[in-house]
């Protein structure tokens, strides 16, 4: 079916009721000429914002969500797929409830450009949609070209990132399964800030757990551009010393500058080269491509500055940026849980603004982030961020937040339940 006739067929099928109670309708919606709220990106931030604009407006404000992927694949828990204790199906959630239950009109496409003056979003397939409010939640862009040779080595499927969960998650698992016992897996970590601060250490722990069970002569190398473990450091390091001694080695202050795909070698700015059988290179990150291209990434040309009370861009009126793309207030991590929180504060602010009501003067955000150190034991970090009207930023409350006292199985249960509940809260 050609695109045009497909779109027309969708239009015929897809007129949503005002209450959005149509169940089981197609997850790919029509391309409207105009939507009061357009959301770009259906991850933890965008999906949550889309759902909560609908809910908080009592289903009065129409929302179109533009997302290229047919299903949501979670980054949190994806390290367990790499470690072998979960599957891709476990971390995948369809978008059909967002459309069927909440009446979000989902358009499956990329955004080619944004015009903040005309207030339009143009899709990669051609048509434009006018908006009153635009929510940009495009996640991160991996800056492959900051490391010589990486772009080509990643494109060929040899050196993976698997930092955006999806096909690379499974491909990395397959590389580890195919590796002979006695081989080396090396993961490199860029300088902070990057998406999911504890994520690389969790991943290294998952691979070490897999090796310990199935390939005991193999090694895990963590090559970290930072001075030290950036999150839950003492907890990770104690667990590694107690459980992965001789398997996992941590090396701080190792900044990768180049990869040699022919010899599977990492080159650093100062230290000696490192060769490994499976290379997992995480380059520096910045705001998602469409945010950078739309000039919203106005902090160091990498992150998007926002007014924290509403998440409205400091660059463009009526464009709100949420999730990993934003320039963070101090101590705010780039996490899925935080993106979900941004989505709710933003949805409430937009519903207020579009209804001529005052915006909440005192919003707050919460974060809870669980890391699996093997297939069952978990450590967490939690924080609460209250909006400070005087300084116009979020501040953690003294005495609040913290980490686990030790890895424990109870939090392993909570971590998996957290995932199921936040997927439902964001998408269902």
């Amino acid at each position: 079916m050609k695109r045009r006739s497909f779109v027309q067929a969708s239009m015929a099928l897809g007129s949503f009721g005002a209450l959005g109670t149509m169940v089981g309708c197609a997850s790919v919606g029509r391309v409207p000429e105009k939507a009061r709220v357009v959301v770009v990106g259906g991850g933890y931030g965008g999906a949550t914002a889309a759902k909560y604009v609908r809910m908080l407006s009592n289903y009065q404000i129409d929302v179109t969500l533009i997302e290229p992927n047919g299903e949501f694949v979670s980054c949190p828990i994806s390290n367990l797929v790499i470690g072998g204790s979960k599957t891709m199906a476990d971390i995948t959630t369809p978008y059909d409830k967002l459309s069927g239950k909440h009446g979000v009109n989902i358009v499956r496409d990329y955004v080619a450009s944004v015009d903040p003056i005309k207030k339009t979003v143009t899709l990669a397939s051609g048509p434009s949609i006018r908006y009153d409010k635009l929510i940009m939640s495009p996640g991160i862009d991996l800056m492959f070209t900051t490391i010589d040779g990486l772009k080509e080595a990643n494109a060929s499927g040899q050196i993976l990132q698997a930092w955006k969960a999806g096909p690379e998650t499974l491909a990395l698992r397959k590389q580890l399964e195919a590796m002979d016992d006695g081989g080396v897996y090396a993961i490199t970590i860029p300088e902070a800030p990057y998406r999911c601060p504890p994520g690389p250490y969790e991943r290294a722990s998952q691979v070490a757990h897999y090796f310990k069970q199935h390939k005991p002569k193999s090694k895990v190398l963590i090559l970290d551009a930072n001075q030290d473990v950036t999150s839950k450091g003492p907890l990770f390091k104690k667990f590694w010393a107690d459980n992965y001694k001789g398997i996992l080695e941590y090396m701080p202050q190792h900044k990768v500058v180049a990869v040699d795909a022919k010899t599977n070698t990492l080159k650093f700015d100062v230290q000696n080269d490192v060769k490994a059988n499976v290379l997992n290179v995480l380059p520096a990150m910045r705001a998602g491509g469409i945010a950078v291209q739309s000039s919203l990434a106005n902090v160091n040309a990498r992150w998007c500055g926002v007014h924290y009370q509403t998440f409205e861009s400091t660059q463009a009126k009526d464009i709100h940026v949420i999730g990993d793309s934003i320039m963070l207030a101090p101590l705010m991590p780039k996490s899925g849980h935080m993106a979900n929180s941004h989505g709710k504060v933003t949805a409430a602010a937009i519903v207020a603004q579009l209804s001529d009501m005052p915006v909440n003067p005192a919003p707050f955000l919460s974060n809870t982030c669980y890391s699996f150190v093997n297939d069952k034991l978990v450590v967490h970090v939690a924080s609460v961020h209250q909006y400070d009207a005087k300084d116009k930023t979020y501040k953690t409350v003294p005495g609040s937040g913290g980490v686990s006292s030790a890895p424990n199985e109870l939090e392993g249960i909570y971590a998996w339940n957290w995932a199921q509940n936040i997927w439902a809260d964001s998408l269902m």
Binding site: K51, Y52, M55, L56, H337, N340, S341, K344, V345, A347, A348, V351, A352, S355, D356, M357, P358, N360, P363, F364, L365, S366, T368, H380, A382, S383, V384, H385, Q386, T396, V397, G399, S400, G401, G402, S404, N408, L410, E411, I413, Y414, N417, W418, Q420, N421, I422, A424, D425, M428
Partner: protein, 111 residues
Amino acid sequence: MKTTSPYLLRLLAATALMLGTSIASHAQDKATQLHNRATAAMCANCHGTDGRTTDGSAIPSLVGMPKDYMVLQLKAFKDGTRPATVMHQITKGLTDAQIDTIATYYAATKR
């Protein structure tokens, strides 16, 4: 042309003022309702949308939880008398007013 009596004018003015106040307070109620709902939604990341967790979740549902009970539990987490994995750290970041708002919201949601 017949002139309107000063009495009638005063009555009209008073009615208009009352109506205006009532509309303004209705708008304020709606705004407060929206802000409170968004505040309560900060629990939903773990405890499910409107406090409804997924089937079999070890994390408790909050929907329909009696207000006094919930305030008591949240304050017990906050002052450390009820042990927790995470909630003692989260509740220390909340004001008593936020705890009240959250407990009021979930008590009013229907199971």
